[in-house]
Amino acid sequence: MIEPTLSHYLLVSGALFSIGLLGVIVRRNLLIIYMSLELMLNSANVALVAMSRFNGNLDGQVMVFFIITVAAAEVAVGLALIVALYRKRQTTEVEDLASMKL
């Protein structure tokens, strides 16, 4: 059995970040985009915890608590906004967000 090293954790976190970013770019539904964004935030959490563990410095893990808290606030505001938009437009597709053009 292989002992997991820092690079394994960083690979996972890099993969999560890339999947999240890809989702934000490719998907057209606001809710899915928002899920992908959460994935990006959590990939940073994985990296921080791993680095904190291998550096022997707890600052990174404390930072993760801040990130989780902030992400929760962001989700609360973001979902409320998306719901308000849905009530107005009956859609959550990004293509329909084009009322302001030159």
């Binding site: 976190s13 935030l41 990174g60 990130i67 302001m100 030159l102």
Partner: protein
């Protein structure tokens, strides 16, 4: 411990004020709600006076090592920006009271969110650690998601809010991933530790990659080139007081963090990245100015001019000197007064539901000579024509780069682009002046009534623009002392 809370006294007062506003909303009858906005503007004015006291300014010389473990810094730069943010928030609050009828829902919460965003900006001004940086930036951004989409009955406002939400969240994801990489390489979140290790960190690819991600997150805040796409739509769709606060407060918060990181914490990296920063600055100036040319919507035009201004301000960081930082501070102060005037007047002359088209300025000199004069002065100041504040700010920024220019061709390119940008910008700012004085197609000659608080705010902005432009000696000393204290800490 508790006696050291004095370092955050201003922030505590601001947060308490926000909470009081929320509670007052429950107690006061709806007809008196207008008063809450004015009272909180007055309270912020008192907090501003408080920040001028010697006992507060004297905190610069005391160390926060014991209290916040040096995660929080009070220096000339921080105090300058705290005052800047409070001043901007006072104007925005006066503005918001006038705007209250168009908000329709929960006006007191609107005031409270402005105040909470202000608290975030004030913490950002003192951030000396990545966790502090992240939390204060997010406090600003999350409150701005709400402020931007506050007019829930307007589709444009909601749309702007969602666009800001998605792009803002992407930028904060980049920022924390960058922080994670920097933390992994440096082993610390504190700016001081990173400052101490910077020469060895520069060799690490992971660290450079992390800093690049972090820079992307901050560049989004200031709407610098590859991260500027959100600005026009969000500026146009947001309620006008929010737009004003976004273009002043949020941008200045990005700049105080950039100054602290790039100029103070890792000057070695900034020197290495000179070409990159010159490129971003030059392209931002060109993009903002060229895209502003065909705009007819005033708020959209100001969004593009705001992008161009972010490019000019970046020149001060490229210069990497005391002069450059002082020039950024001076420019921001002048920008505050000019931009606030323009937004206040846009709000006065447009009615709800109508577009903020440039043609609504027609006949303004007949309808209200006072407003026409104020708008003209603000446009002249933004264009950078002497003798107003904007000219002096641009002059200082260009000078700070020119002083460093010998021996580096990149700097000359940047100077050429900056001057070219100023010339382009004169064209569209004078489009505004032309609409006021020489376009008389519309027959609307109804005089515009300006309520006393707005008149007061306009006169303050007016005086500020003239003062910073005509008598620059004293304000120059202020910004230089703010920038000097910064450099002193670098040498430590």
């Amino acid at each position: 411990m508790s006696e050291q809370l004095k370092f955050v006294q201003l922030e505590m007062m601001v947060v308490a004020l926000g909470l009081i506003v929320l509670i007052a909303d429950l107690v006061m009858p709806p007809s008196k709600r207008r008063l809450i906005g004015h009272l909180s503007a007055v309270a912020l004015g008192l907090i501003f006076l408080f920040s001028l006291r010697d006992s507060y300014v004297g905190l610069i010389n005391e160390s926060t090592d014991l209290f916040f473990n040096s995660r929080y810094k009070i220096d000339g730069l921080a105090i300058f920006f705290k005052r800047f943010f409070i001043l901007a928030a006072i104007f925005v609050l006066i503005f918001a009271v006038d705007f209250a009828d168009r908000i329709r829902s929960g006006i007191s919460e609107y005031y409270a969110f402005i105040i909470f965003a202000l608290a975030g900006m004030m913490f950002a001004a003192s951030a000396n650690d990545f966790s502090m940086l992240f939390v204060s930036i997010e406090l600003i951004t999350v409150t701005f998601y709400i402020l931007v989409s506050y007019q829930r009955h307007r589709l444009q406002s909601l749309e702007a809010g969602v666009k800001y939400l998605i792009l803002g969240a992407v930028s904060s994801a980049f920022m924390i991933y960058g922080i994670a990489l920097v933390f992994g390489e440096a082993g610390s979140l504190k700016f001081e530790d990173i400052n101490a290790k910077q020469s060895e960190l520069l060799g690490s690819k992971v660290f450079l990659f992390g800093m690049l991600f972090l820079f992307a997150g901050l560049a989004f805040k200031i709407s610098a080139f590859p991260f500027q796409v959100w600005a026009p739509d969000v500026y146009q769709g947001a309620p006008t007081p929010t737009t004003a606060f976004l273009s002043l407060g949020s941008k200045a918060a990005g700049f105080v963090l950039l100054i602290r990181l790039l100029v103070f914490t890792i000057p070695d990296l900034t020197r290495e990245w000179t070409v990159l920063l010159i490129g971003i600055s030059a392209v931002t100036i060109l993009y903002g100015n060229l895209c502003a040319l065909p705009q007819r919507n005033l708020k959209r035009l100001l969004a593009y001019s705001g992008i161009a201004n972010a490019g000019y301000l970046l020149m001060g960081i490229v210069a990497q000197s005391e002069d450059g930082t002082a020039a950024i501070l001076y420019y921001l102060a002048g920008y505050l007064f000019a931009l606030m005037t323009v937004f206040l007047i846009i709000n006065l002359i447009t009615k709800e539901g109508e577009g903020e088209d440039i043609s609504c300025l027609e006949n303004l000199n007949k309808r209200s000579p006072f407003l026409a004069a104020a708008m003209t002065l603000a446009a002249i100041s933004l264009a950078g024509i002497p003798p107003l504040a904007g000219f002096f700010g641009k002059f200082l920024l260009i000078k700070s780069v020119a002083v460093e220019a010998f021996g580096n061709t990149g700097y000359f390119v940047l100077l050429a682009v900056a001057v070219f940008g100023v010339v382009i910008s004169i064209y569209y700012y004078f489009g505004i002046v032309r609409a006021i004085f020489w376009n008389h197609k519309a027959d609307d000659k109804t005089p515009i009534f300006v309520v006393v608080p707005i008149r007061f705010a306009l006169i303050c902005c007016f005086a500020g623009m003239l003062y910073l432009g005509l008598l620059p000696n004293k304000p120059m000393k202020w910004v230089e002392s703010a920038a000097v204290s910064l450099i002193k800490t670098t040498a430590e």
